[in-house]
Assembly symmetry: C2
Homo-oligomer: 314 residues x 2
């Protein structure tokens, strides 16, 4: 099979042996595979794949048809449309994933969209609901809301009955982000005047943290899952955090073990996927590329300023 | 009645009208009232009492006998030995507290100890268990472990089956802190070499935060409830926090409304007070003072370096 291959910080399309599904695993003929920020880091050599994942094939999410079943795999049958978050290896013609990490593709969702659902919606759901426990009637601020995770978080927040404010650097995208469900889509400059916010989703970086703390409501929660915009360094006034009785959490999904990825998949099935079948949730697609134009796809992602996902179609 | 009185940053003992218990409240003849860091701030004019508490009488905790019942108060009867956390007003001969904030004084606990239980044990329990969810078998680091909240946290951590490491600046107190249940009582310098820790209780200040993050275990939790030692400013590397999937929370108990103080009192009754009756938990007392020596008591507290509580005996 052919796959996007990253070795010595060089990206190419190379031939690899077809993977074989192990115990409990499913072989998937990949039809859509989204790009994510972690892929950009991996291309630079800064984010090695976790143990147990292909070390030289990037790709944290995929959708496709079940092509074969490993011993003991019983949740799906050949030909089923499935999708998953993985530790790596998604940007290839074939991939193996444990059946407990797989979800069915919701009815009416096409391959480009299915290939871009899992990583961003699972990441946004985990951050905003599992970690920050956003509740209906609360106010959610999403920084960097035009990106993949941002557009997912805006839609999930609205679907859960929260009031969503979105910061979007590119003025041209603010209308589209408002259409996804943000009550306000604003310039990042001066965002702290629009609070208080019960939950802040930080996708940009440390430079926002003093403003996040200033705009935080009593008992508010900040979740940090991306720092690619302004870097990781943050200044924090702990007394202000005490007085707000605030909480800051930070995480990545990628390095989590099988059992946690499986739990995330069950939460997605229960709380999120039904909203795709009804059309309440969508995956904005910025652009799709065939597998052999992966380098152009990566360059497009790295250039930023897009609305929604970049998807490879192997 | 006489009470410690703080007005225009001056501390004195003054005569006040006897308080009268309102609906659901209990009048208490105070027998012991502990000093806390918040009292030092209030004396400097930096920490006004929350609304509904006496503005000029400090004191966040007290123990004493029920002297009278307000309309509708039914949980206790005259003469019962009770104790409470309050928003202020504890350092007086009489005080009124809502009956839902009161707890019975455990059998065998004398007035000085009872006067120093509630604020520090409720604060430590809330921080280490309610916020950070310390579990048996986990590793707890307590910074500033020779103080009131610190000695409470060390004992509660040990009683819950955690492995406790304590930092104690004053070398002379390390043995006593180890005797309270710390497996290690160490110099704060270089503490980060003793990790990883699942939970860090920060009672000193922002200067410890880079070390706390370095010493944090995967999915570790830092709780900040005191910054009097090194101040509130902290530098935080968000990428490191993401990779650890860590969480930082911060809070104070004082400003919380009745319902939250009442919930805290119920949690204390359920999880903590039984350990006093059995002798597993104790309140180290550094020194007691009569009410009219409150100024000396405050100076003793502010001088630091003590082990355990300073208690006024009205």
């Amino acid at each position: 099979m052919r796959a996007v291959t990253v070795r010595d910080k060089q990206l190419s399309i190379e031939e690899h042996p077809d993977p074989e599904p192990g115990s409990g695993e499913v072989l998937i003929r990949v039809r859509g595979a989204g790009l994510n920020g972690a892929d950009m880091l991996q291309r630079k050599g800064a984010y090695p794949a976790p143990p147990g994942s292909p070390q030289d094939i990037p790709g944290l999410e995929l959708a496709g048809e079940v092509a074969d079943l490993g011993p003991g795999a019983t949740r799906f049958k050949e030909g089923d449309r499935v999708m998953a978050i993985t530790g790596g290896g998604g940007q290839a013609e074939l991939a193996t994933v444990h059946e407990r990490q797989l979800m069915p593709v919701p009815e009416g969702v096409d391959w480009p969209a299915a290939g871009g659902i899992t990583e961003v919606f699972a990441t946004a759901f985990d951050a905003v609901f599992t970690q920050a426990q956003l509740k209906q009637g609360e106010r959610l601020l999403v920084h960097g809301a035009a990106g993949g995770v941002g557009t997912a978080a805006v839609q999930l927040g609205r679907a859960a009955g929260a009031h969503v404010t979105a910061t979007v650097r590119n003025e041209a995208h603010r209308g589209a982000v408002a259409d996804l469900g943000a009550a306000q889509a604003i310039d990042p400059e001066g965002f702290e005047e629009h609070g208080p916010f019960d939950v802040v989703l930080e996708l940009v970086g440390g430079a926002n943290m003093p403003g996040n703390l200033k705009a935080l409501a009593m008992a508010g929660r900040v979740v940090v899952i991306g720092v690619g915009g302004s870097g990781p360094k943050a200044e924090l006034n702990l007394l202000a955090l005490m007085q707000k009785r605030g909480r800051i959490s930070a995480s990545t999904l990628r390095a989590r073990p099988l059992e946690e990825k499986a739990i995330t998949a069950r939460l997605m099935e229960k709380h999120v996927l039904g909203h795709f079948a009804s059309g309440e949730l969508t995956v904005p697609i910025a652009e799709t590329f065939p597998l052999d134009q992966a380098e152009a796809a990566y360059d497009r992602f790295a250039a930023g300023g897009k609305l929604g996902k970049i998807i490879l179609l192997p």
